[in-house]
Amino acid sequence: MKEKVKHTLSTPSGDKLWKGDKIFIVLMIAIPMLHFALFTLYVNFDSFIMAFQDVDYTAEVNTLKWVGLDNFKKFFTEWGENDLWMRAVINSFGYLPVTVCVMLPLSIFAGYFLYRKIPLSGLYKILFFLPSIISIVVLAIVFRNMFDASIGPINWILENIFKMSKDDIPNWLVDEKYAMWILYLYAIWAGIGYNVVLLFGAMTRVPTEVIESGRLDGVGIFREMFQIFVPIIWPTVSTMIIFGVTTIFTQYIHPMVLTSGNGKTYTIAYLIISKVNQGRLYYSAALGIMLIVIALPMIEFTKWLTGKIYDTVET
């Protein structure tokens, strides 16, 4: 991204725009800008307004009324009623260690060995990439089938090969003790391949002289991986860390396609979307505002923090 700055902004027809240029610009950007005005500017503005409104159910015709902070209060009441929100917050924040502490090191490790061209690495690169082009719905269905209580191969193996009795084998995606863990497993299983390919790509761009001089100094494989490669490919690594933090607030698709929230697998974003689906738009808007207020500083802080580490390294 840094090299972008180097280009000077070229004005096509000297410093002055001709009349023809102006007409061209207006005609070209009219529709995209209208979209931006409606679906970004207006929608964000309206979200803010909606958070303080609700449908007036007492009126005969559907009208809106100002409700002050009622929508926000409703959230805290709901929070106190049962462990729904508590679980959602815990489940969502669980994605952070899963992506940053498990998936990322594993991806660096795997990307490195692909870079070193271990046996069959060409084939693995293709296979690891496959989940990223297959529909998440299809991936989720095949994954779910593996863990299914009646048709799943995993339970079949546990029952017939490990001779576990049927009652001891959990119904993985329904049992609240296991369901969320299976979702995290899915996140790693389906998501790691794309990271591996990206990190592999970043590693191939590292100048070979750097690697060779390290090897002459007798640097071992693991030091090479984490002390030479990681600092140099830091921009890619930090993007993944930032993504990991963002996932906390945007992860809704896993519960949606794997469990429909059963087994207490809901996440914050999943609950916000399900409120929209239930027609509770104004309550959902208030939840969205709270989400942004918490998410934005956290994401920006992560950006700042990852920028601090190895900020001298240029790619």
């Binding site: 725009l17 679906f39 271990i118 808007a285």
Partner: protein
């Protein structure tokens, strides 16, 4: 460079570990494919066995009973038009903002960047309300409108792409009497086709696989994604598993064929895509 014995052993161990993971990726699909040729009774009695004979009844039924053709049509229509509109919208903004300086141009750019940072989960409710008021819920064109947003990672990539294309081509064309539109459509767009192609492919996969948008905004029509999800929930109650397997196999084939044909380009673009971080 020669590898020491220890390194070689390590490489083989890692290769085996990779192999195990690769099997977990491939096995579920083989399971699906294998069982899609069985009758339901055959499948329930033994999920492991090979089909007694390859019967394509499930495939025929999937088309006849489950409206698969309709799902395909909707998905293809949305993918073709959605990708085109999304790329057009992003390229136009990227081109105009990177090449023309006009009143408000830097303001538009700054605002676009600022709003990209805000997770759009915050405004789902407002977007739904707007779509509803515009009468766009439950219609295919409505979804296309949603896909048409100009600003996103596509915009950023195309912006730096157009920045890198020299303006002297345009000047030469202008001396020959070409107007702004000719310059954009005849000179700049073709020059950017490598970038547009790479970005376009990612957008295309995204739209084809999109579950969330049709789930929320297309409640009474099915795309492949929402249709399959419904089929799989139904299968757990009706027990019509093998039919669902057939439908799944059919739905993956187009993307697999596409991937097989353009595997090299797609992979190279992804590998290079790391640059955007």
């Amino acid at each position: 460079m020669r590898l020491s014995k220890g390194t070689k052993t390590l490489f083989i161990i890692v290769s085996v570990l990779f192999g195990i993971y690769a099997i977990t990726l491939v096995f579920p699909f083989l399971y699906t494919l294998n069982n899609s040729f069985k009758t339901n009774a055959e499948f329930i009695s033994d999920v492991w066995s090979l089909p007694k004979k390859f019967n394509f009844d499930n495939y025929i039924e999937a088309f006849e009973e489950n409206n698969l053709l309709n799902m395909f049509f909707n998905t293809i229509f949305l993918t073709a038009c959605g990708t085109f509109l999304s790329i057009m919208s992003a390229s136009i903004m990227a081109y105009v903002l990177s090449k023309y300086k006009f009143w408000g141009s830097s303001l538009i750019y700054t605002m676009a960047i600022i709003f990209m940072v805000i997770p759009n989960l915050g405004n789902i409710a407002a977007t739904y309300k707007l779509m509803n008021n515009l009468g766009l819920v439950d219609s295919l064109p409505g979804l296309l409108v949603l896909y048409m947003g100009p600003f996103g990672s596509t915009f950023l990539l195309l912006y730096s792409f157009f920045k890198g294309i020299s303006w002297s081509y345009a000047e030469a064309a202008k001396i020959d009497g070409a107007g702004n539109f000719t310059v954009f459509f005849r000179i700049m767009l073709p020059q950017a086709r490598a970038g547009i192609g790479a970005v376009g492919f990612m957008v295309m996969i995204g739209v084809w696989n999109d579950y969330y948008t049709p789930f929320l905004y297309l409640p009474s029509m099915y795309t492949l994604a929402t249709g399959l999800q419904d089929l799989s929930t139904q299968a757990t109650t009706t027990g019509a598993y093998t039919q669902m397997f057939a439908a799944m196999v059919i739905s993956i084939i187009p993307l697999l064929v596409l991937f097989a044909c353009f595997q090299k380009t797609i992979m190279e673009n992804t590998v290079a895509g790391g640059l955007k971080g």
